[in-house]
Amino acid sequence: MSKDGNMTIHLEVWQQEGPNEKGHFLKYSLEQVTPDMSFLEMMDVLNTKLIKEGKRPVEFDHDCREGICGTCSMVINGDPHGPQKATTTCQLHMRSFKDGDRVVIEPFRAKAFPVIRDLVVDRTSFDRIQQAGGYVSVNTGNAQDANNLPVRKQDADMAFNAAACIGCGACVAACKNASASLFTSAKIAHLALLPQGQPEREERALAMVAQMDSEAFGACTNTGACSAACPKEIPLEHISKMYREFATASSRKRDS
């Protein structure tokens, strides 16, 4: 470490020109990295340096940079969103690393998340799961009196817990089977626990699971890696809820 506390970080970043191109790692050594920088700011510094040198910058996804939008991704040294618990890549700081560290950056890897370029992956498969049933059909108009819709405190808390999912895809990235079970189950559980979600509850479970299966995601083997990698700490128990919801809905389904 230099006298001013700045670090030198040795990066190995995945580079891939397009979805069907073969990718490879490129090595960069970045000096003057301050511990206060966020991980994405470090990437900005790298890209500024690359642009100044007339080289192509590294493509990566980012948006809000305050941990709520779910746009940033990256697998850092094997960990989706890096080594910190309950932290998105944008909220990860360089103080989590040491001077001279080797940092390997890869995209989220899953058949259902094809690489667009470098670290940017196409996560529209999540959108299609959401569109299959992750909504409530309501007629807009005046909001009715809140007391007409009593919600048990315990259910409200769990619905909120599930609704915290920002759909970043770290669960898929962390899962050895690239399963989307944690994401899909959070969306199903969120609405299944609330009165507004009841009319479409069973159709939702059937449609969202069917869409999840058609998107080339793997099946759940209950390892819990998804939940450990989740920046919003969505618990594994939602997956069991999805299993219950799907089995019940399947047993009650009518063809008409």
Partner: protein, 222 residues
């Protein structure tokens, strides 16, 4: 009972539930098998008579058919799901996750463990069920002397080592399989999940030690 629609059996969720259910039923079989084997510590006659009573009961054919169905269901669906899961990540990561985001070796190799257990199961049936038939007479009743066959097999050092290795694999498989089955069947709640996990580890350890105790006893003391 309401009829499940075809979508249930085609979905990964439905298939995982069946794998879990079959797995739990097989856990029950493995447990009773291990308890039965412990009778060897009472003596050769008790052990041979237990085996005789078991196979002379006509219901054994129903039980065996059920067992075959459970094994076939568990294995066929697992192979199908494992192939599907492998296809879901065509390109592996260059670096593996560490710390809490890591998947344990036992969890990662469930399918591999399953293959070893299947090979072991086939060899096990060839050795014991369809193996050499020695007979012994108790009060005029001629029964199969399985005890003698066990003593013969478990006095071969290589056989004992291979047997122990396979049982360590089985114990690993049960330690994850037991708790995972409950989760697939929809049972996961902070109130009882830690207890199921504990029970799963205790069950796997008990089954493992139970099965290992007989070859070690025979090898060292008989």
């Amino acid at each position: 009972m309401a009829k499940l629609n075809a979508g249930y059996f085609k979905s990964t969720v439905g298939q995982k539930q069946i794998v879990g259910l079959m797995g739990l039923l097989l856990c029950g079989f493995v447990f009773t098998h291990m308890l039965g084997n412990l009778i060897i510590f009472i003596g050769p006659e008790a052990y041979n008579m237990y085996a005789y009573k078991l196979v002379s009961n006509p219901l054994i054919y129903v039980a065996e058919a059920g067992l075959v169905a459970m094994f076939v269901g568990h294995i066929v669906l697992t192979i199908k799901l494992t192939i599907h899961n492998k296809k879901s990540r065509p390109q592996a990561y260059a670096v593996s996750a560490s710390g809490e985001k890591k998947t344990t070796l036992v969890q990662k190799t469930m399918a591999h463990q399953g293959i070893i257990i299947l090979v072991f199961l086939i060899l096990h049936l060839i050795t014991f069920k369809w193996g050499t038939v020695y007979t012994v007479e108790y009060d005029g009743l001629v029964v199969r002397d399985l005890f003698q066959l066990m003593v013969e097999k478990f006095n071969q050092p290589l056989y004992v080592v291979g047997y122990l290795g396979c049982l360590v694999i089985l114990t690993m498989h049960l330690s994850h399989g037991f708790q995972s089955s409950f989760k697939s069947l929809g049972f996961n709640h902070p109130q009882y999940e830690p207890k199921i996990k504990c029970a799963g580890f205790a069950y796997a350890a008990f089954v493992g030690f139970g099965f290992i105790s007989q070859p070690l006893y025979i090898f060292f003391f008989l």
